[in-house]
C-alpha cells in the first residue's frame, strides 16, 4: 500500500503528512514540558525555602557562594560552565542540522552526511557533559530525593536528556541505514530530514529555557 502525501502537500492542510504529524507531536511535548515547568514555578513561588540549600548539605559539600541573607541557593551548587558550554553545543547543533537539510535541497549528499555527522557528535558531547555534571552531583550525594529543587532539576534535565537520546537514535538512523532512501526517493528523504530537524530544534528550544531557569536564577 502506498502511504499518501509523504512528498507532496495535502490540499486541505497544505502540508505533507509527516510534517503535520511532527507538529502535533511537538504540541504535546510543549504541554509535557509546560506542566513540569509550571510545577517548578509553583514550588519556587510557593515555598520560600525551595531554592535554599539545607545547612547540613552546605557543610557536607562546602565552598559555595553565599546569598544576600547568608544562605546558599541551589544554582550556586550547579555547574554553570558545563551548562553554558552545553547551551552553545546545542545551538551549534541546531545550525548543523538545518545545514544538513539545506545541503540535501542543494542535492549535495556528501555535505548532508558531514553536517548530520557533526550534529550527532554535538548530541553525544551534550550527553557526555551532562554525564559529568550528574556524576559531580552523585559524588556529593545529591540525588533527586535529597531536596525538592533537585527532584525538579533531575526530572527536567533528565527528561530533556532522554529527548536528546531520542534525537540521536533518529538522526543516527537517517545518517546511516535510513540514508539509502536518498537514492530512490530523494524528496521524501529530504522531508524526513526536515521533520527530524524540527524535533531537534524543539530539544534546543527547551534547553534555552531550562538553562536560565535552573542554573542562573
Amino acid at each position: 500500500m502506498q502511504i499518501p502525501y509523504t512528498v507532496h502537500e495535502r490540499p486541505d492542510t497544505g502540508l505533507y503528512n509527516g510534517k503535520l504529524g511532527v507538529w502535533l507531536f511537538l504540541a504535546s511535548e510543549v504541554m509535557l514540558f509546560g506542566a513540569l515547568f509550571s510545577s517548578y514555578v509553583l514550588l519556587r513561588t510557593g515555598d520560600p525555602g525551595f531554592m535554599v540549600v539545607p545547612h547540613e548539605i552546605v557543610e557536607a559539600i562546602g565552598g559555595a557562594a553565599h546569598g544576600a541573607h547568608g544562605e546558599v541557593r541551589w544554582p550556586a551548587e550547579l555547574n554553570v560552565p558545563i551548562a553554558f558550554i552545553n547551551t552553545l553545543v546545542l545551538i551549534f547543533s541546531s545550525v548543523t542540522i538545518v545545514m544538513s537539510w539545506a545541503s540535501l535541497r542543494l542535492k549535495d549528499f556528501g555535505k548532508f552526511r558531514l553536517w548530520m555527522g557533526i550534529t550527532l557528535l554535538c548530541a553525544f558531547a551534550f550527553l557526555g557533559l551532562k554525564g559529568v555534571e550528574y556524576a559531580q552531583k552523585f559524588d556529593h550525594h545529591l540525588y533527586p530525593d535529597t531536596a525538592n529543587f533537585l527532584a525538579i532539576y533531575f526530572t527536567l534535565t533528565g527528561l530533556h536528556a532522554l529527548h536528546v537520546i531520542g534525537g540521536i537514535v533518529v538522526n543516527a538512523y537517517l545518517w546511516g541505514p535510513g540514508a539509502k532512501m536518498w537514492r530512490t526517493e530523494p524528496e521524501r528523504f529530504t522531508n524526513r530530514i526536515e521533520i527530524a530537524g524540527l524535533y531537534w530544534h524543539f530539544v534546543d528550544l527547551v534547553w534555552i529555557f531550562l538553562f536560565p531557569a535552573l542554573y542562573l536564577l
Binding site: G14, L15, L20, W23, S38, V80, P212
Partner: protein
Amino acid sequence: MSGHTAEEIKGEIRRYWLVGFALFLLTLVTVGVSYLHLSIGLAVFVALLIACLKGGLVAAVFMHLISERQAIYSLLLLTVLFFAIVMLGPIGGRLGSIGIEGG
C-alpha cells in the same frame, strides 16, 4: 515556504549562520546578566526576555515558523492557549492561597 532555487537556498544558509551567531551572543548576554546581581524580579524578567528572544529566533528561522502554513499556526494557537492555562495555574494558586491567608 522556503526558496527553491540554489541562490535562494544559499541566502537561507547565510541567515541560519547569522541566527546561530545571534543565539551565541544572546547566550553570553544571559550569563553576563546573571553576574550583575539584579533583584530577583528583574533578573527573572531579563533572563526570560532573552530566553523568549532566543526561542523566537529558533522557532521563526530554524523551524520556519516565519513562513509556515495556516494549519500549523492554528495548531500552535491552540497549544499556546493551553500552555498559558498551565503556566497561569501556579499564579492563580498563589493568589488563592494569599486570599485564604488574608481571610
